[in-house]
Protein backbone atom coordinates (compact mmCIF):
# COMPACT_ATOMS: atom_id res chain seq x y z
CA UNK A 1 0.00 0.00 0.00
CA UNK A 2 1.13 3.59 -0.42
CA UNK A 3 2.68 5.34 2.56
CA UNK A 4 0.22 7.60 4.31
CA UNK A 5 2.69 10.50 4.12
CA UNK A 6 2.19 10.81 0.36
CA UNK A 7 -0.03 13.73 -0.58
CA UNK A 8 -3.37 12.58 -1.91
CA UNK A 9 -4.30 13.71 -5.41
CA UNK A 10 -7.69 14.25 -6.88
CA UNK A 11 -8.81 11.27 -8.94
CA UNK A 12 -8.76 11.95 -12.66
CA UNK A 13 -11.81 10.65 -14.41
CA UNK A 14 -12.09 10.82 -18.21
CA UNK A 15 -15.35 12.49 -19.16
CA UNK A 16 -16.69 12.50 -22.69
CA UNK A 17 -15.95 15.78 -24.39
CA UNK A 18 -19.00 18.06 -24.32
CA UNK A 19 -18.78 18.41 -28.09
CA UNK A 20 -19.04 14.69 -28.72
CA UNK A 21 -21.51 14.07 -25.91
CA UNK A 22 -23.89 16.51 -27.62
CA UNK A 23 -22.92 15.63 -31.19
CA UNK A 24 -25.50 14.56 -33.73
CA UNK A 25 -25.60 10.95 -34.86
CA UNK A 26 -23.60 11.47 -38.06
CA UNK A 27 -20.72 13.24 -36.26
CA UNK A 28 -20.65 10.65 -33.52
CA UNK A 29 -20.72 7.79 -36.01
CA UNK A 30 -17.83 9.32 -37.99
CA UNK A 31 -15.75 9.85 -34.85
CA UNK A 32 -16.43 6.35 -33.51
CA UNK A 33 -15.70 4.63 -36.82
CA UNK A 34 -12.38 6.51 -37.02
CA UNK A 35 -11.39 4.90 -33.70
CA UNK A 36 -11.87 7.89 -31.39
CA UNK A 37 -12.22 6.34 -27.90
CA UNK A 38 -14.17 9.37 -26.67
CA UNK A 39 -16.83 8.69 -29.28
CA UNK A 40 -16.91 5.03 -28.27
CA UNK A 41 -17.38 6.16 -24.69
CA UNK A 42 -20.30 8.43 -25.66
CA UNK A 43 -21.88 5.64 -27.72
CA UNK A 44 -21.60 3.29 -24.75
CA UNK A 45 -23.17 5.80 -22.36
CA UNK A 46 -25.96 6.56 -24.82
CA UNK A 47 -26.91 3.09 -25.97
CA UNK A 48 -25.65 0.42 -23.53
CA UNK A 49 -28.74 0.67 -21.23
CA UNK A 50 -31.03 0.16 -24.24
CA UNK A 51 -29.01 -2.77 -25.61
CA UNK A 52 -28.62 -4.44 -22.21
CA UNK A 53 -32.38 -4.12 -21.62
CA UNK A 54 -33.17 -5.66 -25.03
CA UNK A 55 -30.78 -8.54 -24.34
CA UNK A 56 -32.15 -9.19 -20.87
CA UNK A 57 -35.79 -8.96 -21.87
CA UNK A 58 -35.38 -11.16 -24.92
CA UNK A 59 -33.04 -13.82 -23.52
CA UNK A 60 -33.87 -13.68 -19.82
CA UNK A 61 -31.25 -12.92 -17.17
CA UNK A 62 -28.42 -15.14 -18.48
CA UNK A 63 -24.75 -14.79 -17.65
CA UNK A 64 -24.05 -14.24 -21.35
CA UNK A 65 -25.76 -10.83 -21.46
CA UNK A 66 -22.63 -8.81 -20.65
CA UNK A 67 -20.56 -10.66 -23.26
CA UNK A 68 -23.30 -10.19 -25.86
CA UNK A 69 -23.44 -6.50 -24.99
CA UNK A 70 -19.75 -6.28 -25.88
CA UNK A 71 -20.38 -8.17 -29.10
CA UNK A 72 -23.15 -5.76 -30.11
CA UNK A 73 -20.87 -2.77 -29.65
CA UNK A 74 -17.91 -4.39 -31.39
CA UNK A 75 -20.10 -5.26 -34.38
CA UNK A 76 -21.74 -1.84 -34.42
CA UNK A 77 -18.38 -0.04 -34.31
CA UNK A 78 -17.12 -2.22 -37.15
CA UNK A 79 -20.12 -1.39 -39.31
CA UNK A 80 -20.44 2.30 -38.44
CA UNK A 81 -18.15 3.33 -41.26
CA UNK A 82 -20.65 2.10 -43.85
CA UNK A 83 -23.58 3.94 -42.29
CA UNK A 84 -25.15 6.56 -44.60
CA UNK A 85 -24.80 10.18 -43.43
CA UNK A 86 -28.54 10.52 -42.96
CA UNK A 87 -28.94 7.33 -40.95
CA UNK A 88 -29.93 7.53 -37.30
CA UNK A 89 -27.89 5.66 -34.74
CA UNK A 90 -30.67 4.24 -32.58
CA UNK A 91 -32.35 2.12 -35.29
CA UNK A 92 -28.89 1.03 -36.41
CA UNK A 93 -27.90 -0.10 -32.90
CA UNK A 94 -31.28 -1.83 -32.48
CA UNK A 95 -30.79 -3.68 -35.78
CA UNK A 96 -27.29 -4.85 -34.76
CA UNK A 97 -28.68 -5.98 -31.39
CA UNK A 98 -31.43 -7.91 -33.16
CA UNK A 99 -28.87 -9.73 -35.33
CA UNK A 100 -26.83 -10.70 -32.25
CA UNK A 101 -30.02 -11.78 -30.47
CA UNK A 102 -31.11 -13.85 -33.44
CA UNK A 103 -27.82 -15.77 -33.47
CA UNK A 104 -27.91 -16.26 -29.71
CA UNK A 105 -31.51 -17.52 -29.73
CA UNK A 106 -30.56 -20.08 -32.39
CA UNK A 107 -27.55 -21.18 -30.33
CA UNK A 108 -29.73 -21.42 -27.22
CA UNK A 109 -32.18 -23.62 -29.07
CA UNK A 110 -29.38 -26.04 -29.91
CA UNK A 111 -28.10 -25.88 -26.33
CA UNK A 112 -31.54 -26.80 -25.03
CA UNK A 113 -31.88 -29.64 -27.53
CA UNK A 114 -28.49 -30.98 -26.40
CA UNK A 115 -29.52 -30.45 -22.77
CA UNK A 116 -26.62 -28.04 -22.25
CA UNK A 117 -29.11 -25.54 -20.86
CA UNK A 118 -31.88 -26.39 -18.40
CA UNK A 119 -35.32 -24.80 -18.00
CA UNK A 120 -35.79 -21.52 -16.13
CA UNK A 121 -36.36 -21.56 -12.38
CA UNK A 122 -37.70 -18.80 -10.19
CA UNK A 123 -34.29 -18.34 -8.51
CA UNK A 124 -32.83 -17.29 -11.88
CA UNK A 125 -34.69 -13.98 -11.52
CA UNK A 126 -33.62 -11.17 -9.24
CA UNK A 127 -36.98 -9.78 -8.11
CA UNK A 128 -37.58 -9.73 -4.37
CA UNK A 129 -41.14 -10.99 -4.83
CA UNK A 130 -41.36 -14.80 -5.19
CA UNK A 131 -44.66 -14.48 -7.13
CA UNK A 132 -42.99 -12.26 -9.73
CA UNK A 133 -40.03 -14.63 -9.98
CA UNK A 134 -42.39 -17.57 -10.54
CA UNK A 135 -44.38 -15.66 -13.17
CA UNK A 136 -41.21 -14.64 -15.00
CA UNK A 137 -39.78 -18.17 -14.98
CA UNK A 138 -43.08 -19.50 -16.38
CA UNK A 139 -43.10 -16.83 -19.07
CA UNK A 140 -39.50 -17.42 -20.18
CA UNK A 141 -40.13 -21.18 -20.34
CA UNK A 142 -43.01 -20.34 -22.70
CA UNK A 143 -40.82 -18.01 -24.77
CA UNK A 144 -38.22 -20.78 -25.04
CA UNK A 145 -40.80 -22.83 -26.94
CA UNK A 146 -41.06 -20.20 -29.71
CA UNK A 147 -38.84 -20.31 -32.77
CA UNK A 148 -36.17 -17.56 -32.71
CA UNK A 149 -37.87 -15.31 -35.29
CA UNK A 150 -41.25 -15.43 -33.59
CA UNK A 151 -39.68 -14.83 -30.19
CA UNK A 152 -37.77 -11.81 -31.47
CA UNK A 153 -40.88 -10.37 -33.08
CA UNK A 154 -42.81 -10.87 -29.85
CA UNK A 155 -40.22 -9.35 -27.52
CA UNK A 156 -39.48 -6.37 -29.76
CA UNK A 157 -43.17 -5.56 -30.14
CA UNK A 158 -44.39 -6.21 -26.60
CA UNK A 159 -41.36 -5.59 -24.39
CA UNK A 160 -39.62 -2.84 -26.38
CA UNK A 161 -42.75 -1.30 -27.93
CA UNK A 162 -41.47 -1.24 -31.51
CA UNK A 163 -44.05 -0.45 -34.20
CA UNK A 164 -44.59 -3.12 -36.81
CA UNK A 165 -42.65 -1.11 -39.43
CA UNK A 166 -39.72 -0.64 -37.02
CA UNK A 167 -39.90 -4.31 -36.16
CA UNK A 168 -39.74 -5.33 -39.83
CA UNK A 169 -36.82 -2.99 -40.43
CA UNK A 170 -34.89 -4.22 -37.36
CA UNK A 171 -35.44 -7.84 -38.36
CA UNK A 172 -34.59 -7.11 -42.00
CA UNK A 173 -37.90 -8.66 -43.03
CA UNK A 174 -40.83 -7.55 -45.15
CA UNK A 175 -43.83 -6.02 -43.41
CA UNK A 176 -45.99 -9.06 -44.14
CA UNK A 177 -43.32 -11.46 -42.82
CA UNK A 178 -42.98 -9.43 -39.63
CA UNK A 179 -46.78 -9.40 -39.17
CA UNK A 180 -46.95 -13.15 -39.74
CA UNK A 181 -44.20 -13.85 -37.19
CA UNK A 182 -45.80 -11.59 -34.62
CA UNK A 183 -49.27 -13.11 -35.13
CA UNK A 184 -47.82 -16.61 -34.74
CA UNK A 185 -46.00 -15.62 -31.55
CA UNK A 186 -49.01 -13.77 -30.09
CA UNK A 187 -51.27 -16.78 -30.57
CA UNK A 188 -48.81 -19.22 -29.04
CA UNK A 189 -47.94 -17.04 -26.04
CA UNK A 190 -51.59 -16.19 -25.37
CA UNK A 191 -52.56 -19.87 -25.41
CA UNK A 192 -49.60 -20.88 -23.27
CA UNK A 193 -50.05 -18.24 -20.53
CA UNK A 194 -53.74 -19.11 -20.33
CA UNK A 195 -52.84 -22.76 -19.80
CA UNK A 196 -50.01 -21.99 -17.37
CA UNK A 197 -51.37 -22.21 -13.83
CA UNK A 198 -48.54 -20.24 -12.20
CA UNK A 199 -48.75 -17.31 -14.60
CA UNK A 200 -52.58 -17.29 -14.51
CA UNK A 201 -52.57 -17.26 -10.72
CA UNK A 202 -50.12 -14.37 -10.65
CA UNK A 203 -52.03 -12.34 -13.26
CA UNK A 204 -55.31 -12.92 -11.41
CA UNK A 205 -53.75 -11.87 -8.08
CA UNK A 206 -52.23 -8.81 -9.74
CA UNK A 207 -55.54 -7.77 -11.31
CA UNK A 208 -57.15 -8.05 -7.85
CA UNK A 209 -54.39 -5.94 -6.34
CA UNK A 210 -52.82 -8.78 -4.33
CA UNK A 211 -49.51 -8.53 -6.12
CA UNK A 212 -47.31 -5.48 -6.43
Amino acid sequence: MLPSSQPSRARLVALPSPTLAQADDATLARAASSGDPRATSVLWDRFSPLVRRMLRRTLGPTAEVESLLQEVFLRALRQLGGLPESAQLKPFVVAVTVRVLSSELKRNRVRRLLRLRGPWHSHDFASGDPAIRTALSSLYRILDELDPDARLAFTLRHFEGLQITELASAMDASLSTAKRRLARANARVQAAVTRDAAFSAYATAASLGDAP
Partner: protein, 267 residues
Protein backbone atom coordinates in the same frame (compact mmCIF):
# COMPACT_ATOMS: atom_id res chain seq x y z
CA UNK B 1 -49.09 -2.66 -11.88
CA UNK B 2 -51.93 -2.61 -14.37
CA UNK B 3 -53.17 -5.95 -15.49
CA UNK B 4 -55.97 -7.13 -17.72
CA UNK B 5 -59.32 -7.33 -16.04
CA UNK B 6 -60.43 -10.74 -17.35
CA UNK B 7 -59.64 -13.94 -15.42
CA UNK B 8 -57.32 -15.24 -18.13
CA UNK B 9 -53.99 -13.51 -18.47
CA UNK B 10 -53.65 -11.33 -21.53
CA UNK B 11 -50.65 -10.20 -23.57
CA UNK B 12 -50.89 -6.93 -21.65
CA UNK B 13 -50.20 -8.91 -18.46
CA UNK B 14 -47.18 -10.46 -20.14
CA UNK B 15 -45.91 -7.02 -21.21
CA UNK B 16 -46.42 -5.57 -17.76
CA UNK B 17 -44.60 -8.25 -15.79
CA UNK B 18 -41.52 -8.00 -18.01
CA UNK B 19 -41.47 -4.23 -18.51
CA UNK B 20 -41.79 -3.58 -14.80
CA UNK B 21 -39.33 -6.21 -13.59
CA UNK B 22 -36.63 -6.64 -16.24
CA UNK B 23 -34.64 -3.49 -16.90
CA UNK B 24 -31.31 -2.59 -18.44
CA UNK B 25 -30.16 -0.73 -15.36
CA UNK B 26 -26.83 -1.57 -13.73
CA UNK B 27 -24.85 0.42 -11.19
CA UNK B 28 -22.30 2.97 -12.30
CA UNK B 29 -19.29 0.78 -11.52
CA UNK B 30 -20.56 -2.06 -13.64
CA UNK B 31 -21.40 0.28 -16.51
CA UNK B 32 -17.88 1.72 -16.34
CA UNK B 33 -16.36 -1.77 -16.25
CA UNK B 34 -18.26 -2.68 -19.41
CA UNK B 35 -16.99 0.43 -21.12
CA UNK B 36 -13.40 -0.27 -20.10
CA UNK B 37 -13.71 -3.83 -21.34
CA UNK B 38 -14.96 -2.57 -24.71
CA UNK B 39 -12.18 0.01 -25.00
CA UNK B 40 -9.59 -2.66 -24.10
CA UNK B 41 -11.01 -5.01 -26.74
CA UNK B 42 -10.84 -2.25 -29.36
CA UNK B 43 -7.21 -1.53 -28.49
CA UNK B 44 -6.25 -5.17 -28.97
CA UNK B 45 -8.16 -5.51 -32.22
CA UNK B 46 -5.96 -5.33 -35.29
CA UNK B 47 -7.14 -4.16 -38.72
CA UNK B 48 -8.13 -7.04 -40.91
CA UNK B 49 -8.61 -9.39 -38.00
CA UNK B 50 -12.35 -9.61 -38.63
CA UNK B 51 -11.80 -10.61 -42.25
CA UNK B 52 -9.16 -13.14 -41.24
CA UNK B 53 -11.45 -14.46 -38.53
CA UNK B 54 -14.31 -14.91 -41.02
CA UNK B 55 -11.97 -16.79 -43.37
CA UNK B 56 -10.74 -19.01 -40.54
CA UNK B 57 -14.33 -19.67 -39.46
CA UNK B 58 -15.29 -20.66 -43.03
CA UNK B 59 -12.37 -23.09 -43.28
CA UNK B 60 -13.07 -24.45 -39.81
CA UNK B 61 -16.72 -24.99 -40.72
CA UNK B 62 -15.74 -26.94 -43.84
CA UNK B 63 -13.26 -29.06 -41.90
CA UNK B 64 -15.81 -29.56 -39.17
CA UNK B 65 -18.36 -30.89 -41.66
CA UNK B 66 -15.76 -33.40 -42.95
CA UNK B 67 -14.68 -34.49 -39.51
CA UNK B 68 -18.11 -35.94 -38.76
CA UNK B 69 -19.39 -37.26 -35.49
CA UNK B 70 -16.20 -37.22 -33.44
CA UNK B 71 -15.52 -33.57 -34.20
CA UNK B 72 -19.12 -32.77 -33.39
CA UNK B 73 -18.82 -34.48 -30.01
CA UNK B 74 -15.57 -32.64 -29.33
CA UNK B 75 -17.13 -29.28 -30.20
CA UNK B 76 -20.02 -30.07 -27.91
CA UNK B 77 -17.60 -30.75 -25.08
CA UNK B 78 -15.45 -27.67 -25.75
CA UNK B 79 -18.51 -25.41 -25.71
CA UNK B 80 -19.49 -26.47 -22.22
CA UNK B 81 -18.93 -23.74 -19.71
CA UNK B 82 -16.57 -24.28 -16.81
CA UNK B 83 -17.90 -25.66 -13.58
CA UNK B 84 -16.62 -24.86 -10.14
CA UNK B 85 -16.97 -25.75 -6.49
CA UNK B 86 -16.23 -24.00 -3.25
CA UNK B 87 -14.42 -25.40 -0.23
CA UNK B 88 -14.30 -23.60 3.10
CA UNK B 89 -16.84 -20.99 2.10
CA UNK B 90 -20.45 -20.23 1.37
CA UNK B 91 -21.78 -19.83 -2.16
CA UNK B 92 -25.18 -18.24 -2.78
CA UNK B 93 -27.39 -18.82 -5.84
CA UNK B 94 -26.31 -15.48 -7.23
CA UNK B 95 -22.63 -16.47 -7.18
CA UNK B 96 -21.70 -14.58 -4.02
CA UNK B 97 -18.81 -16.28 -2.18
CA UNK B 98 -17.68 -15.67 1.36
CA UNK B 99 -15.20 -17.62 3.43
CA UNK B 100 -16.76 -19.45 6.35
CA UNK B 101 -13.64 -20.27 8.35
CA UNK B 102 -10.32 -18.77 9.35
CA UNK B 103 -8.50 -20.63 6.58
CA UNK B 104 -10.47 -18.85 3.86
CA UNK B 105 -12.39 -20.25 0.90
CA UNK B 106 -11.06 -22.02 -2.18
CA UNK B 107 -12.82 -21.92 -5.55
CA UNK B 108 -11.71 -24.69 -7.89
CA UNK B 109 -12.70 -24.50 -11.56
CA UNK B 110 -12.95 -27.43 -13.96
CA UNK B 111 -10.04 -26.14 -16.08
CA UNK B 112 -7.73 -26.39 -13.06
CA UNK B 113 -7.80 -22.70 -12.15
CA UNK B 114 -7.99 -21.86 -8.46
CA UNK B 115 -8.98 -18.82 -6.44
CA UNK B 116 -8.14 -18.67 -2.74
CA UNK B 117 -10.10 -16.08 -0.82
CA UNK B 118 -8.44 -15.07 2.41
CA UNK B 119 -10.44 -15.05 5.62
CA UNK B 120 -12.97 -12.22 5.48
CA UNK B 121 -12.66 -11.68 1.72
CA UNK B 122 -15.86 -11.39 -0.31
CA UNK B 123 -16.26 -12.03 -4.02
CA UNK B 124 -18.90 -12.67 -6.62
CA UNK B 125 -18.70 -14.98 -9.62
CA UNK B 126 -20.29 -12.63 -12.13
CA UNK B 127 -20.07 -14.88 -15.19
CA UNK B 128 -18.61 -18.19 -16.30
CA UNK B 129 -18.20 -19.44 -19.83
CA UNK B 130 -16.23 -22.14 -21.63
CA UNK B 131 -12.96 -20.20 -21.53
CA UNK B 132 -12.91 -18.49 -18.17
CA UNK B 133 -14.86 -16.50 -15.67
CA UNK B 134 -15.46 -13.00 -14.45
CA UNK B 135 -14.84 -12.61 -10.74
CA UNK B 136 -15.63 -9.46 -8.78
CA UNK B 137 -13.60 -8.99 -5.60
CA UNK B 138 -15.83 -6.96 -3.32
CA UNK B 139 -13.29 -6.68 -0.54
CA UNK B 140 -10.21 -8.42 0.77
CA UNK B 141 -7.37 -10.55 -0.50
CA UNK B 142 -7.51 -13.23 -3.18
CA UNK B 143 -4.75 -15.42 -4.64
CA UNK B 144 -5.45 -16.58 -8.18
CA UNK B 145 -3.83 -19.35 -10.16
CA UNK B 146 -5.35 -19.23 -13.64
CA UNK B 147 -4.62 -22.23 -15.87
CA UNK B 148 -2.79 -21.17 -19.02
CA UNK B 149 -4.98 -22.68 -21.72
CA UNK B 150 -5.63 -21.66 -25.34
CA UNK B 151 -8.37 -19.00 -25.53
CA UNK B 152 -8.42 -18.62 -21.75
CA UNK B 153 -10.12 -15.32 -20.88
CA UNK B 154 -10.50 -14.35 -17.27
CA UNK B 155 -11.45 -11.01 -15.78
CA UNK B 156 -11.18 -9.81 -12.22
CA UNK B 157 -13.11 -6.72 -11.22
CA UNK B 158 -12.03 -4.76 -8.16
CA UNK B 159 -14.03 -1.57 -7.71
CA UNK B 160 -13.46 0.53 -10.85
CA UNK B 161 -10.48 -1.61 -11.93
CA UNK B 162 -10.53 -4.50 -14.40
CA UNK B 163 -7.73 -7.06 -14.50
CA UNK B 164 -7.54 -8.98 -17.77
CA UNK B 165 -5.89 -12.38 -17.44
CA UNK B 166 -4.97 -15.20 -19.79
CA UNK B 167 -2.97 -17.57 -17.61
CA UNK B 168 -0.97 -16.53 -14.60
CA UNK B 169 -0.48 -16.50 -10.83
CA UNK B 170 -1.16 -13.35 -8.91
CA UNK B 171 -2.51 -11.90 -5.68
CA UNK B 172 -5.17 -9.20 -5.61
CA UNK B 173 -5.95 -7.07 -2.65
CA UNK B 174 -8.86 -4.66 -2.91
CA UNK B 175 -10.01 -2.46 -0.09
CA UNK B 176 -13.44 -1.00 -0.71
CA UNK B 177 -12.91 1.05 2.45
CA UNK B 178 -10.16 3.29 1.04
CA UNK B 179 -10.39 2.30 -2.67
CA UNK B 180 -6.90 0.81 -2.76
CA UNK B 181 -5.90 -1.89 -5.20
CA UNK B 182 -2.74 -3.96 -4.96
CA UNK B 183 -1.78 -6.63 -7.48
CA UNK B 184 1.31 -8.86 -7.02
CA UNK B 185 2.12 -10.77 -10.19
CA UNK B 186 4.16 -13.95 -9.71
CA UNK B 187 3.92 -15.51 -13.17
CA UNK B 188 2.87 -14.49 -16.69
CA UNK B 189 1.46 -11.08 -17.48
CA UNK B 190 -1.81 -9.24 -17.17
CA UNK B 191 -3.39 -5.91 -18.04
CA UNK B 192 -4.92 -3.65 -15.42
CA UNK B 193 -7.22 -0.83 -16.45
CA UNK B 194 -9.14 1.69 -14.40
CA UNK B 195 -9.63 5.42 -13.87
CA UNK B 196 -5.89 6.22 -13.44
CA UNK B 197 -5.02 4.15 -16.53
CA UNK B 198 -8.01 4.01 -18.88
CA UNK B 199 -5.87 2.60 -21.69
CA UNK B 200 -4.61 -0.22 -19.47
CA UNK B 201 -1.22 -0.99 -17.97
CA UNK B 202 0.78 -4.14 -18.66
CA UNK B 203 2.09 -5.88 -15.58
CA UNK B 204 4.85 -8.47 -15.89
CA UNK B 205 5.98 -11.26 -13.59
CA UNK B 206 7.74 -9.98 -10.49
CA UNK B 207 5.94 -6.64 -10.38
CA UNK B 208 3.53 -5.08 -7.95
CA UNK B 209 0.91 -2.57 -9.01
CA UNK B 210 -0.67 -0.28 -6.46
CA UNK B 211 -3.52 2.15 -7.15
CA UNK B 212 -4.80 4.62 -4.61
CA UNK B 213 -6.35 8.07 -4.74
CA UNK B 214 -6.25 8.25 -8.54
CA UNK B 215 -2.56 7.38 -8.57
CA UNK B 216 -1.03 4.20 -9.89
CA UNK B 217 2.47 2.86 -9.31
CA UNK B 218 4.41 -0.21 -10.38
CA UNK B 219 7.45 -1.50 -8.60
CA UNK B 220 9.51 -4.67 -8.47
CA UNK B 221 7.94 -7.21 -6.15
CA UNK B 222 11.24 -8.05 -4.40
CA UNK B 223 11.93 -4.39 -3.84
CA UNK B 224 8.41 -3.92 -2.47
CA UNK B 225 8.95 -6.76 -0.01
CA UNK B 226 12.31 -5.31 1.08
CA UNK B 227 10.79 -1.89 1.55
CA UNK B 228 8.01 -3.41 3.59
CA UNK B 229 10.57 -5.16 5.83
CA UNK B 230 13.06 -2.28 6.23
CA UNK B 231 12.61 1.16 7.88
CA UNK B 232 10.72 3.56 5.61
CA UNK B 233 12.89 5.47 3.17
CA UNK B 234 11.98 8.41 1.05
CA UNK B 235 14.11 8.17 -2.13
CA UNK B 236 13.61 10.60 -5.01
CA UNK B 237 11.14 9.26 -7.54
CA UNK B 238 12.71 8.17 -10.85
CA UNK B 239 11.31 9.05 -14.25
CA UNK B 240 8.45 6.76 -15.34
CA UNK B 241 9.49 3.80 -17.46
CA UNK B 242 8.39 4.91 -20.97
CA UNK B 243 7.84 1.29 -21.98
CA UNK B 244 5.04 1.04 -19.46
CA UNK B 245 3.36 4.12 -20.87
CA UNK B 246 3.31 2.75 -24.41
CA UNK B 247 -0.19 1.49 -25.17
CA UNK B 248 1.27 -0.86 -27.79
CA UNK B 249 2.79 -2.80 -24.92
CA UNK B 250 -0.57 -3.60 -23.42
CA UNK B 251 -0.46 -6.87 -25.39
CA UNK B 252 -0.85 -9.38 -22.55
CA UNK B 253 1.56 -11.91 -24.08
CA UNK B 254 4.53 -12.39 -21.76
CA UNK B 255 7.89 -11.26 -23.04
CA UNK B 256 10.73 -13.71 -22.29
CA UNK B 257 13.26 -10.90 -22.13
CA UNK B 258 11.16 -8.73 -19.88
CA UNK B 259 12.88 -7.84 -16.64
CA UNK B 260 11.06 -6.27 -13.75
CA UNK B 261 11.90 -2.58 -13.47
CA UNK B 262 14.56 -1.76 -10.94
CA UNK B 263 12.60 1.15 -9.58
CA UNK B 264 9.13 2.46 -9.14
CA UNK B 265 7.13 4.04 -12.00
CA UNK B 266 4.29 6.37 -11.11
CA UNK B 267 1.33 7.31 -13.31
Amino acid sequence: MSFGESDSPTLADVEAVVRENVSGHVDGDRREQGKQRLLAALRHRRPGVARQARRVVSIAAALGALAGGSAYAWKQHSGTRLTYDVAGGLLSDSGYVRSSGASGARLTFSDGSRVDLQDGARARIAAVDAHGARLAIENGHAALNVAHLPRAAWYVDAGPFVIQVTGTQFDVDWSSYDDTLSVDLHEGSLVVSGPPAPTGVLLRAGQRLTAHEGRLSIEALEQAVQVAESPPLDPPLPEPDPALLDPALTDPRPSPSAEPPAATAHF
